[in-house]
């Protein structure tokens, strides 16, 4: 329960953080610390250098830029929950943040750390997929933007490049005819999801113009249930179709067995969470 020796460095700016990442071999950025420090305490990770980015103001905060919400990577879960911009324009993020961990973790844990950490149990990667978010990354070669879709490659594996830092997440504001849904099953407060499913649906009258169904903790990384989406896209969604989609959700899952359940349970729970989220999203979209 005591980490191995490491050196602590405080970064003063994004540039400084990138420079320090280059200067110290095998260094790690320290955001909220609620994924990194437990791993260090268990000595699963023993980074010799930590670069603390908590002092970098430009990484914090939520602002509205036209139809886009820009969220600083260092924004905490609690700040997401309390944000009026998100409450009004992106209820999915507020819902998801509310169900992350417990109050202590939410006070320090950041959306950026949650997105890039790579634990399939983290909630925000699937939320980013469902929202069709864009990631803004800064590295030694400057800025690049990349869609969330395609960013998550496996457990502790994503498209974050060496010495790169996630700066901002961009998500679209919710519009008329769009609905969000989020359901998560967990064993208790402070636990990761047995399964969770964020859903965003866009209706055109009764017809589903588009839908994104994402899944948490039922595969090596956050995934989209694309076959399930295909069943619903372009149709007037009813319970029978939702049942069909649920079957596709089960097929999309490849969960690892652990104390939360075996593959059968987890994929069934993913289907049930997706079902509930689809219903909730439809209800919101219908206004």
């Amino acid at each position: 329960m005591i980490p191995a020796q490491f050196e602590y460095h405080k970064a003063t700016s994004i540039q400084d953080a990138i420079a320090q990442l280059g200067a110290h071999e095998e260094s790690k950025l320290l955001a909220g610390g609620h994924s990194l420090l437990p791993m260090m305490k268990l000595r699963f990770a023993e980074p010799p250098h930590l670069i603390d980015i908590n002092g970098i103001e430009e990484l914090r905060g939520i602002r509205l830029d036209g139809d886009t919400i820009c969220i600083g990577a260092m924004t905490t879960e609690n700040e997401l929950i309390q944000s009026e911009i998100l409450q009004q324009h992106c209820p999915l993020l507020v819902e998801a943040a509310r169900l992350v961990a417990d109050p202590q973790v939410r006070n320090r844990g950041t959306i950026g750390g949650d997105v890039v950490h790579g634990d399939p149990g983290n909630d925000h990667p699937a939320v980013m997929l469902a929202l069709d978010a864009t990631l803004v990354l800064h590295g030694p070669d400057g800025e690049r933007q990349t869609p969330a879709n395609g960013f998550f490659l496996g457990t502790y594996w994503n498209d974050l490049q060496e010495h790169e830092i996630l700066v901002e997440l961009r998500v679209p504001v919710i519009k008329k005819g769009v609905g969000h849904g989020y359901h998560k099953l967990k064993r208790k407060t402070g636990d990761y999801a047995v399964a969770a499913s964020p859903v965003v649906v866009e209706l055109d009258g009764d017809v589903c113009r588009d839908i994104r169904i994402a899944l948490t903790n039922v595969a090596p990384m956050a995934i989209r249930a694309e076959a399930a989406e295909a069943i619903l896209r372009g149709k007037a969604i009813d319970e029978a179709l939702i049942d069909q989609a649920a079957r596709e959700v089960v097929a999309a899952c490849e969960p690892a067995e652990d104390l939360r359940g075996d593959a059968l349970y987890k994929s069934n729970m993913a289907a049930e969470m997706a079902r509930r989220s689809i219903r909730a999203a439809l209800q919101q979209a219908r206004g």
Partner: protein, 801 residues
């Protein structure tokens, strides 16, 4: 003339028995000024940390300390070989077995202590443990206790090979610890052969851990000049620890001081004597400086004293009306690698033979076999009295199964079998004497309070709609307050307890007991007992426990024994003081002792209003004006050896709704009626019941210590191990009846464990009840959503995907 309001006022200012006095302890706890073992910092103190085995069963081929010793700040690395010359590499357990202090040639369970590092601070110590190089040769692992006595099972305890005379019985296999039986086997079997109806149910009571908020730890400090050892440690039984430490170390008991400071919950986890304590003491003696050892959470869950792990079969023979004719219980007990259960010496299965419960059962037989497996030792009473939880579980589950088989309502079958009020004191066929009870009255009270009939009707409607609703019932009898020294001892010391009370000249009081509070509120309630007995306000009474240099010898606090035994000692000691005080009062009032009567807080001359002396006045006189021939002072000690256990009981009812699509259970209602005899502090009782119900909920719904085939413990952090927060915890409704114990000086019985003991089978009863129309008779704990869903799925009740 007596003035009732004036009397009431005097009574109220005492804050004595029956008063919901605020807890004296809370001011310091809520302000963060409690003083726990880890708060103790002594000059020059070093830290101990353990090198632990990654394997459940392996031979140690070599241990290389060089690199660890080379790390700056490391003072010593000790292994079994270093303890051997002191003969401390093994130590006796409370159960008549021995236990490795540090693994001697072999490791027997994952996380077993292999070496200890002593360093300047805990950070260096942690780094150094990684530098100790241990070479292992893996051995075949025994995880399943059902395999333990197979001919080809790997033998665990090489030190015991061929020693077939165990501490409690002949051993029939090298992995066998004991066989223990109670009751009449042949007579029971005969009833079963002829019975109109029989039922049989297998059930597993999982291995769980008490998981107190504060983990175990100690600070050992040996003073070489004065040859005096002081150990602060998290112990529920500091006096017993002193005796054991003296016996092991050879230091006279008079030069060993054990102090239990504030304790952050014990629940049985802090009864045992652990390797960490022993090596800290050895290290302090060898190095001549204080040494601290404190477990982290994973070490706590993995190594120090688990509870339960009973594989049980309950069988009932009955007539067609559901009247029980005989009970048969078989247990396979998984004790782990060393038998370190904490039970009275004569009872290797604790008080398991209370398993006839609240029922009038003519004949019964209990058979328990204990076996070794490659798991951590323990088997403590987790918020209960020595295996009572297991006993209550098996009888309550099996009677439910009988009700189901006969189609008789659960409440009705209990009515038919309860020991009747006029039968008390009631001798059970397994040898206990239930002191008092009124089960029928309590049951009806609960059924009326929840409107049982309409709940059953609602359940019918829900079932018709395909919904799962369950009603659980548990009507339990506990056995607490161990115990009469004729049949209860720990390492040969009788299980009495003690109180010493001193009344100061100005009428305030200090009292010390052999018990030790860990959250029960002794500072508050013991003072109330003395207040009522002596007429001094409890606010003027200080209670101290836990320091063996000052407190009288006692066996400690576990098994709900503080009020039944320590509380009785307190009342009796106070009565000794009052008897002396009465003589002094008579002397002061110049009348005969017989002309004096006691009135709340004073002595009065019978029939002469105004002629009176308050206890305060008498206290003053005790130090300057006593009758001739009487020694001055006003104090007393009592060592109380209880004539019997006490038998609190309760009626619990639980209503659950189960979500078929996720398996989640929502506890809609939990109604707990407890009868603990005389109620000393109703608020504290309520608090203890809430705590016990919550812990019972935790056990029933989530706690487990699962092992894989290699003996790896799969869930030893609080991410997996279920400790409920307010979010998960149901709303509790509490109620009570009062049936005093006839043999306890106050009529009090003990209460804090009843809610744990009684709620667990009640939850199982409710969950199973939700499926009982589908011929389900039992489901093993924990009733997590995952496991409940598996049943839903197996029965095809979930929505198809």
């Amino acid at each position: 003339m007596d003035n009732p309001t004036e009397q009431q006022d005097r009574e109220d200012t005492l804050k004595g028995v029956g008063c919901s006095r605020r807890r004296k302890e809370d001011a310091r706890f809520v302000q963060g000024t409690g003083r726990y073992t880890d708060d103790i910092k002594l000059p020059g103190m070093l830290f101990a940390d353990m090198v632990r085995s990654p394997y459940a069963h392996a031979r140690i081929k070599s241990i290389n300390k060089e690199k660890a010793l080379a790390l700056p700040g490391v003072h010593a690395v000790l292994t079994a070989d270093d303890l051997k010359p002191l003969n401390l590499h093994w130590m006796p357990t409370l159960a008549g077995d021995v236990q490795a202090v540090l693994a001697d040639e072999k490791v027997h369970f994952q996380y077993q202590e292999v070496a200890v590092v002593i360093a300047d601070d805990r950070y260096i110590a942690a780094d150094a443990t990684e530098l100790v190089e241990v070479e292992y040769e893996e051995l075949e692992v025994l995880v399943d206790p059902h395999r333990a006595m197979d001919a080809d099972a790997p033998i665990l305890r090489e030190d015991l090979v061929g020693k077939m005379d165990g501490a409690h019985s002949v051993r029939v296999h090298d992995n066998h610890i004991f066989n223990w039986q109670a009751g009449e086997k042949d007579a029971t079997d005969r009833v079963f052969e002829q019975a109109e109806v029989t039922v049989k149910q297998d059930m597993y009571y999982p291995r769980v851990h008490p998981c107190p908020m504060e983990t175990c730890g100690c600070v050992a400090s040996y003073d070489k000049i004065n040859e005096h050892l002081t150990v602060h440690l998290t112990s529920q039984a500091p006096h017993v620890v002193r005796t054991v430490v003296s016996m092991l170390s050879g230091i006279p008991e008079s030069r060993v001081r054990i102090v239990s400071p504030d304790i952050g919950g014990g629940f049985g986890n802090k009864v045992g004597i652990y390797p960490g304590y022993v090596v800290s003491i050895v290290a302090s003696i060898v190095l001549g400086v204080p040494v601290k050892w404190v477990e982290d959470r994973m070490e706590n869950i993995s190594t120090t004293a688990f509870a339960r792990d009973y594989h049980m079969t309950g069988e009932i023979a009955a007539d067609s009306e559901g009247r029980i004719k005989a009970l048969r219980v078989n247990v396979l007990a998984d004790h782990g690698a060393f038998d370190a259960c904490a039970d009275p010496s004569k009872f290797p299965a604790g008080l398991m033979h209370i398993c006839t419960g609240s029922y009038d059962i003519p004949v019964a037989h209990l058979n328990v076999d204990g076996v070794y497996t490659n798991k951590a030792p323990g088997g403590v009473a987790y918020r209960c009295s020595f295996r009572v939880t297991e006993a209550v579980y098996v009888i309550e589950r099996t009677i439910d199964v009988l009700a189901q088989k006969l189609g008789i309502d659960k409440a009705e079958i209990r009515r038919r079998n309860f020991v009747k009020v006029e039968q008390f004191p009631y001798k059970t066929c397994l040898g206990w004497e239930l002191d008092s009870g009124d089960y029928h009255t309590a049951l009806e009270k609960v059924l009326n309070a929840v409107d049982y009939e309409s709940l059953r009707r609602e359940q019918q409607e829900k079932r018709a709609q395909g919904e799962l609703m369950g009603i659980g019932l548990c009507t339990f009898t506990e056995i607490v307050g161990a115990g009469p020294s004729r049949n209860c001892d720990i390492l040969g010391v009788g299980m009495f307890d003690s109180a010493e009370i001193r009344v100061h000249p100005t009428g305030s009081i200090i009292a010390r007991m052999g018990t030790i509070t860990q959250g029960q509120g002794h500072q508050t309630t013991y003072a109330q007992i003395i207040a009522s007995e002596l007429g001094i306000s409890s606010d003027d009474i200080s209670i101290e426990e836990g320091d063996t240099d000052t407190a009288p010898y006692g066996l400690g606090t576990y098994g709900s024994r503080s009020t039944p035994v320590g509380g009785a000692a307190t009342a009796v000691a106070a009565r000794k003081i009052r008897a002396k005080a009465q003589k002094i009062a008579a002397h002061l009032l110049e009348v005969s002792e017989n002309d004096i009567e006691w009135d709340i807080d004073r002595f009065k001359v019978k029939g002469v209003p105004g002629q009176e002396k308050t206890m305060k006045e008498v206290a003053w006189a005790a130090y300057n004006n006593v009758p001739e021939g009487m020694e001055p002072g006003l104090e007393a000690v009592d060592y109380y050896d209880p004539p019997n256990f006490t038998y609190p009981f309760g009626i619990y009812l639980c209503v659950v709704d189960i979500d078929k699509s996720t398996g989640e259970t929502s506890v809609r209602r939990f109604y707990a009626l407890d009868d603990c005899g005389t109620r000393i502090n109703p608020m504290i009782i309520e608090g203890q019941i809430h705590g016990g119900l919550t812990e019972g909920f935790a056990v029933a719904m989530g706690q487990e210590m699962p092992f894989d085939e290699q003996g790896n413990l799969l869930g030893n952090t609080l991410m997996d191990y279920f400790v409920p927060t307010f979010v998960e915890t149901p709303h509790w409704e509490t109620d009570y009846t009062v049936t005093p114990s006839p043999h306890h000086p106050l009529g009090a019985k003990g209460v804090a464990e009843s809610p744990h003991v009684g709620s667990i089978p009640c939850f199982t009863s409710a969950i199973v009840d939700a499926f009982s129309h589908l011929d389900v008779t039992h489901m093993n704990m924990p009733h997590s959503a995952y496991r409940v869903w598996q049943k839903v799925h197996e029965l095809g009740l979930d929505s198809p995907v």
